[in-house]
């Protein structure tokens, strides 16, 4: 597993410069303002969020004018930068939390926002309707399944807006394991961000934002998954977020994630985000949590003695642990029995259905193709072809279907059905009544969409018919086999197999191939390694000679200090022989002065005094009195220097 990490040190500085540059770049684009009040209708004591988002501009130094009956609460700001499709954009968001203290209609007056570059943006007036709530008008019931705006504390998710943190129905996302426990909960966009003991936001965290926490069995809940990593800890990842437990089914995260960079609590972060959908197969309250096997830079090994440390920083130490997201509780309700249409197939959402019939004139026995189109949002897996009422004038066939998603989570799209029907009589024959049924979680009601189909002009008389190509009759016909048409039995049993399970599902199938393949790879590696390391036959001999030469040199020095001329010259001559034999790859004992002269006359001339003196001392058995052995030793050592190379 190869993990590529990003640079630290200079990288941090570059990031800071980049972020600073990014703060300037948006000034080149035209600033725009969007504003939102959420919810526009509230009860006393609710948290009403008034959000202003300035795109491509900086300057959040403005405030709301006080309004009687609305108590000012917390104010939060955030800034984000996005890199998408090669273009850079920034947005600064400022959210005012207002708490209504009385019922009535309120108007937050219009005002002007002066940006740093002198641009003036005009904020429009916003209206807020406040009802008495529990002590006055009854509060809205807890509607399972409505869109997220039903929960006033959860702002609608805006992918291009400020950081949207998880809905506040649970604890904040967990910090990085192994990091110091969160010491404080800072805020971003009005929601909690896990922080470390030094007050900085956590290096890595995961946030899931389902569209709703109340749903019905089988309902597709769109969900945003956002994984944040601080830029100074950024590392490449090799896994996708997975859902914990088996209480929910999730669409495959096959679509590549969106990536952008943004600031959270003045820290630069890289964000990877996915849009998917989950559904619960059974009713109950279930915890929903995801996790991602994440890598991040724990520290950087300083590159010691590296003068280019600023350009080539040290190797990063990577931490690797699964990071859990915020945990939510999803309330999954059973579909109500009351009002359930007979043809309900499990479709939950908001849909529209239309149909066409082609051609409008056919002969008896010829098929008419009905084309149904169901569009909308919901669980398209359970959207089936609109039902036709039984009509003896028409014979129906099994429809085919095709789904075209219109968003990443596959919760919006178009499902087309084609069904062949064949008239059983002639004349102007109205097509059967048709309808499409679904359950709308917003209204908590089963909905029936009537589909009007035209009448078809059928000509000719009834004749023997054959099914249209590609379709066969439905199961209303009897299943008794025809007497003709079936091919007869075989009279031999043929080759038999005790099991139908293919052998590739058995371990030995892979072990046999894997073993041979592994042996092949090992053999190839062996061949490659061997070709790179050529065998050195003379290495041992060379080492032995070098060792001997070192011994002789030591003996020579000892003899010179002791004034032992015989021992000195024996050792000196042998050392010279060893030295030359190493170069010429010959036996050292065979290197006489004559031999040396034949190979290198100039060197022989240099060595001749030493060899003559050595012979004289050895053969005369003399003590060499009067010889300056120290000077001879220096001379020999000079000869043994590497630069004294033979020719």
């Amino acid at each position: 597993m190869r993990i590529l990490s990003r640079a630290h040190g200079l990288g941090s500085a570059l990031c800071a410069v980049a972020l600073s540059a990014l703060a300037v770049l948006p000034c080149l684009a035209v600033p725009t303002l969007s504003q939102q009040i959420n919810p526009p209708e509230a009860t006393i004591g609710d948290d009403v969020q008034v959000t202003f988002v300035i795109q491509n501009g900086s300057g959040t130094n403005f405030n709301l004018q006080p309004v009687d009956g609305l108590q000012n609460g917390q104010v939060s700001t955030s800034t984000s930068f996005s890199f998408q499709n090669g273009s850079i954009s920034s947005s600064a968001a400022k959210t005012f939390h207002l708490i209504p203290t009385r019922a009535g209609d309120f108007t937050i007056p219009a005002f002007e926002i002066h940006l740093q570059d002198g641009t003036v943006l005009h904020a429009q007036a916003m209206k807020l309707h406040v009802v008495a709530g529990a002590n006055g008008a009854p509060a809205a019931p807890q509607a399972p399944g409505p869109p997220p705006t039903a929960n006033p504390s959860v702002p609608a998710f805006n992918p291009n807006g400020p950081v949207v943190m998880p809905p506040a129905n649970n604890a904040p996302p967990q910090p990085v394991p192994g990091n110091p426990a969160p010491s404080a909960a800072a805020t971003a966009g009005g929601n909690a961000v896990p922080t470390e003991s030094d007050g900085r936001p956590a290096k890595v965290f995961l946030v899931i934002t389902p569209q709703t926490t109340d749903a019905y069995v089988g309902q597709s809940i769109p969900m945003k998954i956002e994984w944040f990593i601080r830029l100074d800890a950024d590392a490449q990842q090799d896994s996708l977020p997975t859902i914990k437990g088996s209480d929910f089914l999730m669409n495959n995260l096959s679509v590549r994630f969106h990536e952008d960079t943004l600031a959270v609590m003045d820290e630069g972060y890289r964000r990877e985000s996915w849009s998917t959908a989950i559904s619960a197969p059974k009713p109950g309250d279930f915890p929903l949590q995801m996790e991602r096997d994440s890598y991040w830079i724990k520290s950087i090994n300083p590159a010691r003695l590296n003068p280019f440390v600023n350009f080539f920083p040290g190797r990063p130490n990577l931490a690797h642990e699964p990071i859990a997201s915020n945990q939510l509780t999803i309330h999954v309700h059973d579909l109500p029995d009351e009002g359930r249409p007979a043809n309900f197939t499990g479709a939950i959402g908001q849909f529209t259905a239309t149909a066409t019939a082609q051609p409008d004139t056919v002969a008896v026995g010829e098929p008419v193709t009905l084309h149904f189109t169901v569009t909308g949002q919901g669980n398209f897996d359970y959207v089936r072809c609109p039902a036709l009422t039984a009509d003896p004038a028409w014979k129906t066939y099994v429809p085919s279907s095709k789904f075209t998603p219109q968003n990443e989570s596959h919760t919006q799209g178009i499902k087309d059905f084609e069904m062949a029907v064949i008239p059983q009589k002639n004349g102007t024959v109205p097509l059967p009544q048709s309808s499409f049924n679904y359950f709308d979680p917003a209204t908590k009601q089963y909905m029936t969409v009537p589909i009007t189909l035209p009448s078809i002009t059928v000509t000719g008389a009834m004749a023997a018919r054959t099914p249209p190509p590609g379709v066969v009759t439905d199961s209303t016909e009897g299943t008794a086999p025809a007497e003709a048409g079936f091919l007869p039995n075989r009279i031999t049993s043929g080759w038999t197999k005790t099991s139908l399970i293919p052998i590739y599902r058995q371990a030995w199938f892979w072990i046999v191939q894997g073993g041979l393949f592994a042996a092949l790879v090992v053999g190839l590696v062996f061949l490659i390694l061997r070709s790179r390391t050529k065998r050195d036959d003379g290495r041992e001999e060379r080492l032995r000679r070098q060792h001997s030469m070192a011994l002789e040199t030591d003996a020579m020095g000892t003899a010179a200090r002791n004034g032992d001329a015989l021992a000195f010259f024996v050792a000196a001559r042998h050392a010279i022989q060893l030295h030359l034999s190493t170069r010429w790859r010959v036996n050292p004992e065979s290197l006489t002065l004559t031999e040396i002269r034949q190979r290198d006359p100039q060197l022989a001339e240099t060595l001749e005094p030493l060899f003559v003196q050595a012979d004289e001392i050895i053969y005369s058995g003399g003590t060499g009195r009067g010889l300056d052995l120290a000077q001879w030793e220096r001379h020999v050592r000079d000869l043994l220097q590497p630069q004294t190379q033979p020719a």
Partner: protein, 265 residues
Amino acid sequence: MTFQFSRAGRFVTLLFALGASILSLTADTSDSELDAANRAFAYGSYDEAAGLFQKIIAARGYSAALCFNLANAETKANHPGLAMLNYERARYLAPNDADINHNLQLARQQAGLEPNSYRWWEALMLSINWTVWLALMVLCLSLLLFAVVGTAMKLPSPALRTTFRLIFFIGTPLLLMFAFVELACIGFNNRVEGVIIAPKAANLLLSPIDGAEKIGTIPEGELVTVEGRHDKYFRIEARDHHFGWIQQQDLEPVIADSFDAKPAN
């Protein structure tokens, strides 16, 4: 020498005898049990014929011919689910057999189901004999390994060295191609399919729990793809790309025992 020859001769004789007995067990050219089953079928005792074919399969194992005959008997006995199951098994064992496909499509038509004939490339990918394929892969890998070992031994013969090089340079791309084909075929073959055997139709449920919402039916004999399992329920994808849960008892796998369902029919 005489003793050695005698031992070798006995060994060869034993091998022949063993091979002959295996052949006699697995490739009967005529046998009384099969004749009896076919006779019952010919006399119109379809239930009895189906029972006899099932006994033969239980005793000897599956073959395309036995599954085909059993499917014919189940069709005549008006058991479309079991008929389709055994036609699918026969087709799984012999994807290119036109007779099996003919009867299967006819049975499907009579049961009100869409035709599901294989396209040529599907039949090609399904017709791979995995035992032969494994032998091919092992042969290819062994030859390459032989060439590598031979190269490592630095044999003096130039002819051998040339042979090793040839094996290596021809065998490597072949091996890569075989590996690709193997993985592609396995990916295609690895669907888990089952046939609805519930009488008339199986209920398609919204969730895998007792008393779950019924969201439709799948007719008996329909082939579905099993996507997952939860307790005694299977999450299936029907041929019209609808999803839902059905009870284990309503479904029988085409590849018997492939998801630990109840014993094959």
